[in-house]
Amino acid sequence: MAIEGRTARECFDGFERELKTFIPKVLTAVPFKIFVRDSEGDLKFPQGDDAISVPVETKLGTLYLYLRQQLSAEWIEEKNQYRLTTKRYWYCLYKNQNSQELIRWEYLKRDREINNSACRNHVHIHGGGAFSLESNQELPISRLHLPTGWVTMEEILRFLIVDLGFSPLCGDEWPQILGASEARFYRDFGAKQRGKA
């Protein structure tokens, strides 16, 4: 069962409830908001007109995490109700606020007009490095759309905690909190698990 509702707003309300189960408990108390116009939504950490990244203390020092999603509540004729879908996401890790990112996970739904031929789920890794070929040609890794599966925000938080040493706000409870949220995600957004996003 997906996040569905009789109105678009009901879908966004349902997603908001899900976000509240883990973002403020694990990552940050900074408000994470969905700006909604009709059936379209824009999820971000807002500050004035800007979407900000939030500081995360890691074993590499302070890094900055940017989470952004474009959402749509789409009318499903046969079900006579709306269903929430993610049209695009960006999860970026920055060395400094507003600087070039270190890592960017990205998803672009196939119905978009920009960059439509690249892997729809991919990661960009910056900071140097290239594939060197015998012909002396180099292929910078930062320019590659390295394929990934569907990346959840919960997985990004796991990466921060396990690989980068981020201390979650909830302490040792984080595996249960993220695990429960992921379980709900794969129940409510089943198509993502089957690669039909």
């Binding site: 908001e16 969905i34 007109d49 979407a51 952004r68 474009q70 695009r88 920009i114 960059n115």
Partner: protein, 67 residues
């Protein structure tokens, strides 16, 4: 957005078309120092690919048109 219809207990902020259009104009000036029309052209031709400006312009377009 200064005139958001915001409920403090909610993380959902409902915005109007006019508010989104005004935000687009401000972001185009702030991030690219161009008009919204020029920002939209740069976005459409892929010139902004990989930048924060691309994300912002894309998000405005999404709220306006669902694209």
């Amino acid at each position: 957005m200064e005139q958001e219809l915001e409920n403090e207990s909610s993380a959902i902020v409902e915005v109007s078309k006019a508010q989104v259009e005004a935000l687009g104009e401000r972001l185009a000036r702030k991030l690219l120092d161009v008009s919204w029309e020029e920002a939209l052209r740069k976005y459409s031709t892929g010139e902004l690919q990989g930048s924060l400006a691309e994300i912002e312009i894309s998000s405005i377009v999404h709220l306006l048109n669902g694209h």
